[in-house]
């Protein structure tokens, strides 16, 4: 990939695949499509779960979007 990080890719994939953010992450979360970048996925999902205030509930697409945006902003600022 040309300069695209795995973190950025996770932001791009839902629209590329024609899925909503919720549907994309639900499929990732439920292991329907185990993807490549385990650490990134785990970090994002864990932070979104914490944001959701539960250790079990599936975070919403909006919460994942918030976490992803924050992480990307931090990465871009480094």
């Amino acid at each position: 990939m040309h300069g695209l990080t795995a973190l950025e890719l996770y932001g791009y994939l839902p629209s590329f695949l024609g899925q909503s953010v919720d549907d994309f992450w639900r499929s990732e979360f439920e292991g329907l499509y185990p993807f490549i970048v385990w650490k990134i996925k785990g970090d994002i999902l864990m932070k979104a779960i914490l944001l959701n205030g539960s250790s079990e509930a599936m975070p919403t697409g909006e919460q994942i979007r918030t976490v992803l945006s924050d992480e990307l902003r931090r990465a871009a600022g480094r």
Binding site: T5, F16, Y33, P34, F35, A75, R78
Partner: protein, 178 residues
Amino acid sequence: MSPRPRRNETASQFTGSHQGNGLETDRRIRAQALSLRAIGRSLRITAPAIYNYFPDRDALVTVLIIDAFNSFGQALEAARDALPKEDLAGRFSAGRLAYRNWAVTHPNTFCSSLVRRCPGMNLPKINWAGSHQQLPGLVGVLDEAQRAGALHPPEGYVRWTASPAGAGAGALRPAHRL
């Protein structure tokens, strides 16, 4: 049961790759985690005889895992190529589904080659040169999509600026650079 390998036969006799789908290799990867005796039994040779073909256990395990992982790459590519080249999202999704199906049907290989921290399996550090390690079947589709301008952030995300190589290094960097 597989025919007993002769001393002058190649390491491929151990991998089961000639059987096409990697399932036998997957079983052998699990078997080696239990004992060399188990894998020797599947080949109708004694465990010490394995050392006629490999210098040590790690060399055998490395061959098994790389062989099985190559069959993984081939499965992804076959799924991808079943769809037309212009259907980039379809090709990527087909590859993802193949990825999942392969992981489910080859749990030992999947664990040992992608997760690499498998309970009960003492795995060697593997040199992946020449293997399908970077999943070219999937990454290649994304590469094409990026060149075609089909990858873009959805509404509601921050607008990312192109960052120089190495920017953002640290905890957020992926283990696998794409």
